[in-house]
């Protein structure tokens, strides 16, 4: 994977990671906490340190539900979900890094699945 820089992630997410006071409230409220190897507060902290490689290679980026709980409940207005999204988009933008492929969609479908789920998954998991 070509180099993804800290500056690139900061610019894309628009987040000021320096505002974080490391209280961990974002991670405590995250509904995907158990499924994540790195938690929202670690995304913020590790991007601040420029320690991107573990995040770029972790499945944690696909576990965020975009539920905005961390955004709403962070006492410092850091908006950790935007950092998670910034890392995920950096990965997806590398060619060949689509997390789901169109040809795999049919096997995921059932008669009740709303279009919304498919359209959203395309936006969150592929380019």
């Amino acid at each position: 994977m070509s180099k993804v820089t800290k500056e690139q992630v900061l610019r894309s997410s628009g987040v000021n990671v320096l505002k974080c006071m490391r209280c961990g409230k974002c991670s405590a409220t995250c509904p995907s906490y158990d499924e994540m190897e790195y938690h929202p507060h670690q995304f913020v902290y590790m991007v601040e340190k420029g320690d991107l490689e573990p995040l770029l290679n972790s499945d944690s980026i696909y576990k965020c539900l975009s539920c905005y709980a961390c955004v709403e409940r962070c006492p410092r207005g850091v908006e950790p979900a935007k950092v998670v999204e910034g890392i995920r988009n950096a990965v997806l933008r590398q060619s060949g890094m689509n997390h789901i492929k169109a040809e795999n969609i049919p096997e995921m479908l059932d008669e009740d699945l709303p279009q919304q789920a498919i359209v959203s998954a395309f936006r969150k998991y592929k380019r």
Partner: protein
């Protein structure tokens, strides 16, 4: 009262009841919903990245076309509402994004977030009034214990959505009272059901959906109501440890107004 109306792709297909009952109920309340003639699918979820421009343009086009009509734009699907509201906020408050989007779209007059986007529930509360609705109810749902499921997208991020207090909302509970039923407040009403992760990690979607459905049932609810087709799907299909029924709020409104067929 006339509004522009954005149905969204899901309401044209899997969630026809959300749309159909929403239209019938509006008619009974003396509200005219004019479907935007040239709406495009909003993409289902807002891209939080500032450098994502192209994927936000379909929402911008719908918003700009509503501006030409000159009425408030009413949404019904929670997800569409969230996407349109957040995109509109970016057009208004992020000059870099709005310059780029306007540049792509080449409109005669630039669009800068002028359209007022309101959810159907806000239309009921702020334009019609829950007291007026209560007067028009012919078939009150007396004795029914109903759990409102807000999920995430109606309320958050609160500073953009501005529908209600994101941690202690009352709008759907007030709606439930207006149709003559009894609201059940329970801890998971504004926690996520898993959303689109059902496409990536079914086990996670099941875990989250079961938490919501079981929490509503444990607190004594007979049913759950929602404004979101994906919430409905998750709470019906992925919440496999509970059999509490889930309905669109518009179906109950139509029933209470006596216009459900």
């Amino acid at each position: 009262m006339t509004f522009s109306y954005y149905p969204g792709c899901t309401l044209k297909t899997k969630a026809k009841d959300l749309d159909r009952y929403g239209r019938k109920a509006a008619e009974a309340l003396g509200v005219t919903l004019e479907e935007l003639p040239d709406w495009q699918c909003c993409g289902g979820t807002f891209s939080m990245s500032k450098d994502e421009i192209a994927s936000k343009l379909s929402a911008v086009r719908s918003l700009a076309s509503a501006k030409d009509k000159g009425n408030d734009l009413v949404t019904l699907c929670s997800a569409c509402h969230n996407v349109l509201k957040q995109t509109n906020d970016a057009m208004k408050n992020d000059p870099d994004f709005s310059a780029k989007a306007n540049n792509y779209m080449k409109l005669d007059v630039p669009y800068n977030g002028e359209t007022n986007v309101i959810h159907y529930l806000e239309m009921l509360r702020d334009k019609v009034g829950f007291d007026k609705i209560a007067e028009k109810v012919t078939n009150p749902l007396t004795g029914k214990k109903i759990a409102a499921y807000y999920g995430c997208l109606l309320l958050r991020p609160g500073k953009v959505m501005q529908m209600d207090n994101p941690e202690n909302p009352t709008i759907i509970e007030d709606f439930i009272k207006a149709i003559g039923a009894e609201p059940v407040v329970y801890p998971y009403r504004n926690e996520c059901c898993g959303g689109y992760v059902t496409m990536e990690d079914k086990a996670l979607a099941k875990k989250k959906s079961n938490k919501v459905a079981l929490s509503a049932a444990e607190n004594g609810a007979d049913m759950i109501i929602t404004a979101c087709p994906l919430c409905l799907y998750n709470l019906n299909k992925n919440a496999d440890e509970s059999d509490i029924p889930v309905y669109y709020f518009t179906e109950l409104l139509a029933e209470a107004l006596g216009v459900k067929d």
